[in-house]
Structures are given as C-alpha cells and as structure tokens.
Amino acid sequence: MTLASVSDHDASSPRHLRGRYAICGVGETSYRRGSQESTRSLATWAVSNAMRDAGMSAGDIDGMLSYSGNDSTFAPFVAGDLGIRLNFYMDVHGGGSSTEALIGIAMGVIEAGMCRTVAIYRAMNGYSAVRIGGTGARSAVPIVGDQIHHRAYGWQSAGQMFAPTFLRHMYDYGTTPEQVAAVKVAHSKHASNNPKAYYRRRYTVEDVVSSRMICTPLHLLDCCVETDNATCIIVTGVERARDCPSPPAVILAVVGRCCKPRIDMHYQHGPISTVAGHYARELLWPNAGVGPEDIDVTGSYDAFTFTTMLQLEDYGFCRKGEGGHYVSDGTIELGGRRPNNTSGGHLCEGYTHGMNMVIENTRQLRGDVDDSCPVGPDGRRLHTHDYAEGGCRQVRDVELTANLGWAMPGTGSAMVMAKDIR
C-alpha cells in the first residue's frame, strides 16, 4: 500500500490515534422477515455472537452504544440481560451513517479513559415492526411544524426524499438508469455467494430497469430490502484487540455524520447532485494517510443503487460525474479492481443501517468471509477465489477497506480500516 499518497499535513486528528483502535469482534443474527423475536432478544443474540467472535466474556465489555429511530431496545437492557456491568453507554438517535460515527465515539470515550471496550449494536424489526420503507406506523404519525414542508407533499420516504438528488445527477452528468442498475447486478452477484443473505438470486440490468417504478428514478430493484435483524461490532484498543482470536481490523480514520451546508434543508445549497462525501473526504483521506486509489474493498451504503454510486464518486474513487461509468465497468464486482459490498449489502443481504457493511469489511481484512468455501483444519475457510454463483466471495490480499455510510444526500460517515501490519 502507498501510505505517501496523502499528506499528513492535512490531517485533523492527532496522528497517534491512527491505527490505535480496532474492531476485534463482529456478530449478527440471521437476516429475516418475521423474526418472531423482540429487538431486545435480537440485540442480545447479535452481541453474544460478537463477544464469542472476540473471545470475550461479560467482564471484558464495559461500554455499549446503540442507534435507533424509536424502534429498538436501549443498551442498559441489553447489557443487563448479558450480565455486562457498564462504565459507559449511550443510545443515539439515527439510522444510516451511525455505524462509523459511533465507532468514532467509542474510540473517543476509550481515549478519554471512560471505558476500555465498547460493543456497538443495531437491533431492528425493519420489516415486521417499524418498516424502513416508511409504510405503516411511520406514515401515520402526525405532521407537525417543519415536517409540513415535505410530508404534506407526499415527500416522506427515503426514496422520495433523495430522488431529486438522483434525478439531478442524471441531468447534470448524463448518468443512465442502466449504469446505476449495475450496482444491483454486482451486489446480487456477491449475495449469491453469501449463505446468510436474504436475497441470493443474481439479477441483470434488464431485471432492474424493467421492475416496477416506485418513484423516479427508483425501480423496485434499485431499492434495498427491509429485514428483521441485529448486528454488533466490538471496538477496543489495538493492543487489546491483538489478544483476540481473529486478527484486528485496524481503524485508520473515521468521519461521523459529516454534513453539507444548510443541513436543515440541504437542497438550498447546491449542487444538489453532490453529496456529503465531497466534504467528508477532506477529513477521511488525510486522517487515514491513504487515498482512494489505495483501497482494496469498499462498502458504499446501498439504501439505493444511486447512493452507492454517488458516494464512490464524491469520495474520489472516480472523477466527478463519472460515477455511472465507475459502477458499471466491472470495477465494483468480485473479481474486479475494487469490489463494493461483497456481502450483497442492503440491496440483498439485509438492512441494518450500515453495520453489516462494516462487519463484511472486517471479515474481508481477516481473509475469512463466511461464504460456502470448505473449512480447513485450523477452522479457517480455504478460499477458492472462484466467484461463480454459490462460490467464494473472499477478495485476494485485502489490506485496506473503506466504508462510506449514508444518512441522506447531505449527511454521511466514513471509515478506513487496515489489516494489522504490526
């Protein structure tokens, strides 16, 4: 890897934090519709799995963070169920873009001496209870004050709210529906090699653009899946992480909920076809000490096919306006130069507001994604790197990954992780 591509001169964080923290454990529930479990039960399930992955018991965890939109269970209940005594916890309001932001918070509170190891979870029944697409309970809540400026116009769901950005990108740069559909094609290819993905079928560009229109320019298959699930990652200091069973995924830089100007109504400040990554990249790359050209695997949030494309473009993986080309020339597919969302992401694996993409990149850095490859005598999979349907999804020689989290066009988070090079 070329660490010299970005000058340390521009870094905003003290450089001693670069590489000082790591993800030492990851875990999740199954991705289902109709979980038949409470969010409390889903959360304890995912946190238990992450603790087992990290080789940790209740006494090893003393910090907990969660995020939700009034649709989950608070950390004290989850900790209590698992016998974890907390020195720190916080439950944060929010959905997409929270994962990376909370990882940054975890690093901060450990650095401040408030605790030593933080479990971060997201537990939701995003299909069978509070639906992420905005139907049901979410569309029935009263419309008050500032919300009148959008909800009274039938401008409410994520797809509806983001669509003016997506359409304007097509207008400004000539991006085509077929180019953007290639994101779904790539992620469905990846999901077909992920036994735990909710949708494992491979789709074609024609499948996407001929599926029914939800709201221009989003066809049904441009939109993510709604599922019930919980996910968890455990963050601790890198020295402690090195005592865990799996190699640490070392955190080089995080950006949390970085915003465009006028975030109350970001459409006032154009160009509206530019997203928060345009600003976030000014923190991300200098703080990480690497640039987009150094990254082996990306995890660009795919609430919609368009969100993946817009972020890859604005974080500098291609030139502005060339995102449509970048996502459709084979680069982001397994076997391509820089695969994106190798688990299938939100479009196919399941919807977790970003955390499953961080889990996937952690496993990619370990060289041990959970595909169908045979398990060797040391308990690790023998990856074939044959990406045919039902096969491998491990990328060769992964040293650096980037996660690009999305809340909306005006807000995003990001993180760069590296393989431990002690």
Binding site: V144, A152, G154, Q156, P177, C215, R262, Y267, Q268
Partner: protein
Amino acid sequence: MPIQGDYMGMTLTIEDLDRENRDFFRYCAARDFRLQRGTASGLLRYPPTTACPWTGERESEWVPVDAAGTVHSYVEVHHPIQPAFRDRIPYMIILADLDTQKGVPTKHEALRVAGNLVTADGAFAPPEMIARVGIGTRVRMVFVDVTDEFALPQWTIDEGAEQPERPWRYPRE
C-alpha cells in the same frame, strides 16, 4: 392555540411556539408569499428558520417575494407510502428555483421551494399534465387552503411564460 387542520385526511399542526412556520403559512393563507430576510445579510431564506444561515443573525423581516421559478429537480411518485396519497398516484413533487436570489450568494445556491404539481385551481395534476413537466419547466405558485389561516404553497405550469422546447425528464418511460 395551535393552528391545526385536516388536509387530504392528514392532520397538520403548527404549534404556538413555532412562530416562523405560523407566520409563513399565515402569509400563504393571505395569498401573500413572503420569506424571511436577514437584516444584516439582506438575504432571503427558505424554509423558515430561527436565524440567518449566512450570518447567524436572529432578527429578520418578512418580505414579499415573486413566487415564480424554474423546476430544478422533481420526483414522480408511482408507489404511494402515505395513506393520504394512495388515490393520487402518480403525483409529482417539484423543487423549484425561485427567480429571486437565484445563484446568490454562491453559484449553486437558490431558494428551492417544494410543492406538488397542481392545476391552476389547485387540484392534483392529472398524468397528462405531469408528462409536460421536467427540469427547466417554468412554474408559478398557487395556494391550497388547509384552514382559513393556513395554506400550502403549490406549483403549477406557468402557461403565460416562455417554456423550454423539451424540459428534461427521466429518460426511460
């Protein structure tokens, strides 16, 4: 007392303390489109806010604004999410750049005002009207009453204006 009204089966509420939205929607009810102008910056802003986004100044005055503009982007909804819109599909949401203060204070900024595409008398636009509208279409504001002191601004095609030969529309239809 909060201002509260039923609109298409949705209950819309403006609380007592929400002075900015009360003023905005009351002017709309009087068919008098006004925006706040920061006295220090001299700049208008939308939607209503408690301070000037460019100076942070909390003082402002409501000034009349010519409610004509151009479609900057839009959404055409074919799958309804809110029950109130179930019988209205397809419907269009427009973000229109007002002519006033366009490209000020920076090149890509504008007062981008949201609304549905409606007929000149405020009814939801039929599909053939929606098909005529895209990026570049000239629009003018009309108002739809919620209560006698609360109206929503909406957009209709400005039939008196010079229109682009072919406004830009989503290419696959």
